[in-house]
């Protein structure tokens, strides 16, 4: 299996998401956690980059982190799958490598 890329930094503060998208091979998965979840909104300056990413990768986001930050699912990009902590753990077991873009 392939790589699970984890992004935990805001796309507007750091280049973690950009580096991840540049270096993630098609088919590898992307999981947004902590401040990384600010990339899910469908009308932000990161939305076009994310739409492109969604064509090549399964994209997940950690629901408790959205809830904590008041980021509603109603403005989320289509195609992102929300996971809870159990889902997070399950993902880490389904992929044989983890790459955290700290």
């Amino acid at each position: 299996m392939s790589v699970l890329h984890i992004v935990n930094k805001s796309p507007f503060d750091r280049n973690s998401l950009d580096s991840c998208l540049r270096l993630a091979r098609p088919g590898s998965a992307i999981l947004l956690i902590e401040d990384g979840i600010y990339a899910v909104r469908d009308n932000s300056a990161a939305a076009d980059r994310m739409r492109q990413a969604l064509e090549n990768h399964p994209v997940y986001a950690l629901q408790p982190d959205l809830q904590a930050r008041g980021v509603g699912e109603e403005n989320m990009l289509d195609g992102i799958t929300l996971v809870d902590y159990d889902g997070f753990v399950k993902l880490t077991t389904e992929y044989d490598k983890l790459q955290s873009w700290l």
């Binding site: 507007f12 300056a45 930050r69």
Partner: protein
């Protein structure tokens, strides 16, 4: 004690670091000294004011409701940079309504949040005596 104009500049999102909570605590402590306090929210700092934040599931202090107490502390000049909101796909409706009661106007409830342009915010920064960054 001469009153000075203090501006707290907030540029970090609420939960990824301790800055946002620390800033709010310093603002509340500082408010006890009856200085002229203004808050600015720029860049990811605007996320601190989003509605419906509920951090119960990530076991961190849910301090968003505390912003609503700022009016009681006479902190009622809160400026949010429009450009920062737009870049994040946000507008005023996405932010918590923050209000204060004007004692000199029969306790009329007034908006504390003002959405301003970069140019207006630059002007506000120039007018201050002390700048505190978080």
């Amino acid at each position: 004690m001469a009153t000075k104009k203090f501006l707290y500049v907030n540029r970090k999102p609420p939960h990824g670091s301790i800055y946002a909570l620390e800033s709010l605590e310093v603002v509340l402590i500082g408010a006890a000294f009856e200085q002229d306090v203004t808050l600015a929210f720029i860049d990811d700092g605007v996320y601190q004011l989003l509605q419906k934040q509920d951090s119960s599931a990530i076991a961190t202090k849910n301090f968003a409701p505390t912003f609503r107490a700022l009016g009681d502390y006479d902190v009622n000049k809160i400026y949010v940079e429009r450009e920062s909101l737009e870049m994040r796909g946000l507008g005023k409706d996405d932010l918590m309504p923050l209000t204060w009661e004007d004692e000199d106007d029969d306790w009329a409830e007034k908006d504390s949040i003002h959405i301003v342009s970069s140019a207006e915010l630059a002007e506000i920064i120039e007018q201050q005596d002390v700048l505190l960054n978080f």
